[in-house]
Symmetry: C2
Subunit: 427 residues, 2 copies
């Protein structure tokens, strides 16, 4: 973790063009100096100078000779994705995932294990740190410095301060300085965000949503949440609380009490916990023979049992999935009418229970939406075992490190840790 200056100071006037040139090289949009001139509209002299600055600070290297277009073949520029590493973590309700990524967002190593978020920040973050330390120790000699930490948690986060705020399923975490703790331990900038926001970002940068402007990512797991991409950027809202689709009113029924304290919430009638509860009821009252059989010996039922029952033609299970899917679809129709996205990605464990569930979501979404808003709307399921969350945790760090605000500061200072005014050091 060097603190040597790795580049010359950057003047204010060069900022935008420096960031723009780096972005074009990072994304692979332009691979040579002439290509940069063509794509960016910048002058040749400016491109040459910015590339030189990026090479000097080690973020870009001159590679092999590229294809000639008549004259001298231009050299191919390569972003040094291995110039730094990023530590990433994704905390679920019942899982801890960690990884190491390079600064192109590629996961180099990852590990997942059971965990219980409800134990509180001290034991959970201690375990995350143990796993991070082990991953760091396992890296080969000469591994690059760590430039940042990104972590997702299953609840609302005030993004500016990196603290969870009143998270319903995270007792003990309210206001906890997650950013401050990890930033102090690893001496690098740290960003904390809601898990579904990071999944949305992961799909945007290297998944199903690459190149899209307006995307809604919906996670249907134990609970239900959404991440919104607006105009190509994650929309976090005024307090970082945006995307909370799980607690919109799905049914006007005061007897259905949600864990948030309100009644009739979407996740209280259509999430994994809700399906498990409905399955237990159908086993108890004997209305589903399949589920009665499944619940023998006191076995605890889950959404996957409902899915299997439905696949075996169990009418009660089919009805449960269709009703849950329809309710999610109606909520998504509201999202479509309000935001007019071009793509909806459906992820999370429960989203993978089968095509019947997805068909119900899709039908209800389309039947309740404005025709103009669904004219070109695509709805896709995210791949099973998708790493979007960990990738998103890497990209939240990378996007900030290479942003107009931070890039020039830490290039001048020598490393992301070197500059005292980085936001998380201040927070």
């Amino acid at each position: 973790m060097t603190a040597e200056p790795i580049g010359p100071p950057v003047s204010g006037d060069q900022l935008d063009t420096l960031v723009a040139v780096l972005d074009l090289i990072r994304s692979g949009t332009a691979r040579t100096r002439p290509g940069l001139v063509r794509v960016s509209g910048l002058g040749r002299a400016v491109v040459t100078q910015r590339v030189a600055q990026l090479i000097e600070c080690g973020l870009v290297v001159d590679g092999a000779l590229g294809p000639s277009t008549g004259g001298r073949a231009p050299r191919e520029l390569r972003f040094r994705a291995d110039a730094g590493h990023v530590l990433v973590a994704e905390l679920g309700a019942t899982s801890i995932g960690v990884g190491v990524a390079d600064v192109s967002g590629r996961l180099l190593a990852q590990h997942e294990e059971p965990g219980d978020i409800a134990l509180g920040p001290e034991p959970v973050l201690s375990r995350v740190e143990e796993l991070f330390d082990r991953m760091l120790a396992q890296r080969p000699d000469g591994a690059p410095p760590v430039w940042g930490v990104g972590i997702g948690v299953p609840g609302p986060v005030e993004f500016a301060t990196g603290r969870p705020v009143s998270p319903p399923i995270m007792p003990g975490w309210d206001g906890y300085a997650v950013r401050g703790r990890l930033a102090a331990r690893y001496g690098v900038p740290t960003w904390v965000d809601n898990d579904v926001n990071l999944m949305a970002l992961g799909e945007l940068r290297s998944g199903l949503a690459v190149g899209e402007s307006d995307v809604v990512y919906v996670k249907v797991g134990s609970g239900i949440g959404a991440g919104l991409i607006m105009a190509g950027r994650l929309h976090r809202g005024a307090q970082g609380a945006a995307g909370d689709i799980g607690h919109v009113e799905a049914v006007d029924d005061p007897t259905i009490v949600c864990r948030c304290g309100n009644t009739g919430c979407l996740e209280a009638v259509a999430g994994g916990v809700a399906l498990a509860r409905q399955a237990a009821a159908a086993a108890a009252d004997g209305s589903s023979a399949f589920l009665v059989e499944r619940a023998r010996n006191g076995r605890k039922l889950g959404a996957e049992d409902v899915a299997e029952a439905a696949q075996h033609g169990d009418a009660v299970a089919v009805e449960m999935l269709t009703r849950a899917g329809t309710r999610i679809g109606r909520a998504l129709a509201t999202v479509v009418n309000l935001y007019n996205p071009s793509l909806i990605v459906i992820g999370g464990g429960v989203a993978n229970v089968g095509d019947m569930f997805l068909a119900a979501i899709r039908n209800a979404t389309l039947s309740r939406s404005l025709p103009l808003a669904t004219r070109d709307l695509r709805m896709s399921r995210s791949p099973v075992g998708d790493e979007a969350g960990l990738r998103g945790a890497a990209f939240v760090v990378i996007d900030e490190l290479f942003s107009r605000q931070l890039l020039p500061r830490w290039i001048s200072a020598g490393s992301p840790a070197g500059h005292p005014t980085l936001p998380d050091v201040a927070a």
Copy 2:
């Protein structure tokens, strides 16, 4: 409408700083060259050069000597708001509003008259053009050139092409080339947008929402619509259809058919038309003595009659307003949970029926929203007779004219009309 070049060509590398310097002067954030250096972080030489370019093309003038801070007093720079004019129009369901604004967005003249959008584009736009022509003729000698046209319509608009798309209350307008017609007639760039989007933009640039990042503007009139400001910019969505809160499902009742063809839509139970229908029913069945009296001699009832009845303590009217307000508030709670705005502005004719209605909206919004998302949430009513729509129509033009995409092109070409690749000339 000069087509003389008004400035030197601008190189790609100077673009961002030119736009940034102009923005700072336009907004009044910086008023002198030293002030610009301080606020922008740009070097003195760059600021001097950009200011010179802006003076040369007539957008900025050197004004009086400003206050000295020790040395020589710096000259105050002034944005020439009168360098160009903008024609603006706002079409309502039953009204036509037109105006002339300067390029600071200030309305210099305006006129409103009854109109019927359902007559179709030919008679309505002919009337708009007559009114525009009259306003142009009434300007004093030596008035500046017209640089653009902005127009709002009461329905969904595909912003990229400037055409209404399947607008429910605008028969004959579907796909009509509003932009093409006005751009051809006045020879200047033209932008067309949804009326509520323009109201949101008007409040953002010179109204209740100045300086806010995440704002929802809700118009409660005959129908109900919303405009979304995200990260300080109007969010139009993939097709420009965003903000359609009027047709989200408010009640699960297949007997309430909306004019959009769907059932249970918010505007079918809580908009002005819905309140008028409920008032007529209460007069017909005699449940409200006040409304029976009002409906004598076949008088057609409206939302304002319900409001007056409620002010006189009529229980049926109080119940109508409370129920409508509660339904709007529940829909807004969904918006708050999804989008986490810092401010909700409530406008439109029906929003002004009284405090009881607004209190019902506010209560329902707060009771159904995530606590974090309402921690600092403000809800305000837009002033009666607010000109936000016309101002927004001016700002949609101004924002585009002074943007990174257009400013340098038309500075080089001599006028906004002078450049052949302007988007609406191409569309």
